[in-house]
């Protein structure tokens, strides 16, 4: 399911213009950017939690060349699905 399909589905359900839905999605993405950039978690009930995690700088070895590379610190955004969603996905297999 791509973004366009989601927008169309939402516009039908909410009886809103796709443009408005796109703006709301962009707004939601902006909030996630801002909050997760500040290492704040965002919890969506019944769906899951967006969990940012800061990784310190580290040295890795390039196995192909054998050279050491110093990686800078970074924030990775993880998603922890809720138990309900995880069970539903597992049961639907």
């Amino acid at each position: 399911m791509d973004n366009k399909t989601i927008v169309n589905n939402l516009s039908k359900k909410l009886d809103r213009e796709p443009k408005e839905i796109s703006a709301l999605i962009d707004g939601l993405a902006a909030i996630i950017k801002e909050k997760c950039g500040n290492l704040s978690e965002i919890a969506i009930p019944g769906f899951g939690t967006f969990v940012p995690a800061k990784e310190d700088e580290k040295v890795i070895t390039d196995l192909s060349t054998g050279k050491k590379i110093l990686l800078p610190p970074q924030i990775t955004l993880n998603f922890e699905p809720s138990i309900v969603l995880r069970k539903k996905v597992a049961n639907n297999q």
Partner: protein, 366 residues
């Protein structure tokens, strides 16, 4: 920062940023993730622009999420100035040493502690190992047997008393004498024994060197302190003599005026032939009493004893009056202290000065 944004807060934030009502945004978020959830349950991959891609894992046990490139870049904006750097071997080594330096120090300390008993082996082992070599001449021994013998020796010596260890550490010559024959005999022994002994010898040499250096260092410090003490005592003696001479014979540099002419001349010209001539003492300086400069200050400066202020007072008593109310600006003559000191011992002179002070104060006490 580091807090958890709830659904309600998220809806409020979205409503404030998009200008809609909170109920609308709540409904929007709920419906959005409901659609995504349904798609995931159906095993579909869902991509939301600006957020990322959700998809069920291979075994459907969890949901995998890959953030959008734009989102990942935005949340890593604080670290955008950094780049991955390829490290040279030297840089990598420097990084490792920086990280592990305290650990290495502790490891070195541990190795020294562990190696200490091995030093003792070299001290006592020449006899043991020499015996073992003679034994090999008469009766053949196996490598394992010699190894066991070595281990037993090590165990025996590790349990030997500390006093012996200390004595053995202090003499490098002794350890060298001990170590060399061991090496020679070991060369004739099997190479396996050599492999066993080499590390022990290395550690013993290094540890004995360390110990010897430490003992040398401590010995050097003690010698240095002793030499310093002797030189200091000599210097004090010489300087003390010079100071005494300068105080008695030379005027002080801080004195305002030096008197060239003798003030007190007690020479009986008539009886010079028959009577002993009394020594003539010249005044050593003229000083002025100030608000922060009293007779005691002067006495301390000129005589190194503040109690001798009484003699300055005595010398100038005609113009001083009450010693406690001397006006600032009063000029006083500083007499040669030998004029008043009646004894060679300081304690008697001080007692005399105290008595003199009582005498001086007596008329002014109510």
């Amino acid at each position: 920062m580091n807090d958890k944004i709830t659904f309600q807060q998220l809806a409020e934030l979205l409503s404030s940023s998009t200008g809609g009502s909170t109920s609308t945004t709540e409904l929007f978020i709920k419906e959005l993730f409901a659609i995504v959830g349904k798609a995931l349950i159906n095993g579909e991959k869902v991509q939301i622009k600006g957020i990322g891609t959700f998809m069920p894992s291979m075994d459907n046990s969890t949901i995998e999420f890959a953030p959008d490139a734009d989102l990942a870049e935005s949340i890593n904006l604080p670290f955008s100035c950094f780049e991955a750097i390829e490290l040279d071997d030297e840089m990598h080594q420097a990084l490792i040493t920086d990280e592990t330096q305290p650990k290495q120090e502790s490891e070195i300390a541990e190795t020294i502690e562990v190696a200490e008993p091995a030093v003792v082996e070299t001290d006592e082992e020449p006899v043991e190992w020499a015996e073992s070599t003679t034994e090999t001449d008469t009766e053949p021994t196996h490598e394992e047997a010699s190894e066991i013998q070595l281990e037993e020796d090590i165990a025996d010596i590790q349990t030997s008393n500390v006093a012996e260890i200390d004595v053995d550490y202090n003499t490098e010559e002794q350890t060298e004498v001990v170590v060399e024959p061991v090496e020679e005999t070991l060369e004739t022994e099997t190479t396996h024994n050599q492999q066993i002994l080499d590390p022990i010898l290395d550690t013993t040499e290094t540890v004995t060197e360390d110990k010897h250096k430490k003992s040398k260092f401590a010995f050097g410090i003690i010698i240095g302190i002793l030499i310093g003490a002797v030189i200091g005592a000599m210097a004090m003696f010489v300087i003390g003599n010079k100071l005494l001479l300068s105080q008695t014979n030379m005027p002080n540099s801080e004195s305002e005026e030096i008197i060239d002419e003798p003030v007190c001349i007690a020479v009986d010209t008539l009886a010079t032939d028959t009577l002993e001539i009394e020594p003539v003492y010249e005044n050593i300086a003229v000083d002025t009493v100030k608000q922060t400069r009293f007779l005691t200050t002067m006495a301390r400066q000129y005589y190194n004893q503040m109690l001798y202020w009484v003699y300055i007072y005595e010398e100038n008593k005609e113009k001083l009056g009450n010693p406690n109310v001397i006006k600032p600006g009063t000029t006083v003559v500083i007499p040669d202290i030998r004029k008043y000191l009646k004894s060679d011992t300081d304690s008697l002179n001080i007692e005399h000065a105290k008595l003199k002070a009582v005498e001086i104060y007596a008329p002014y006490q109510k």
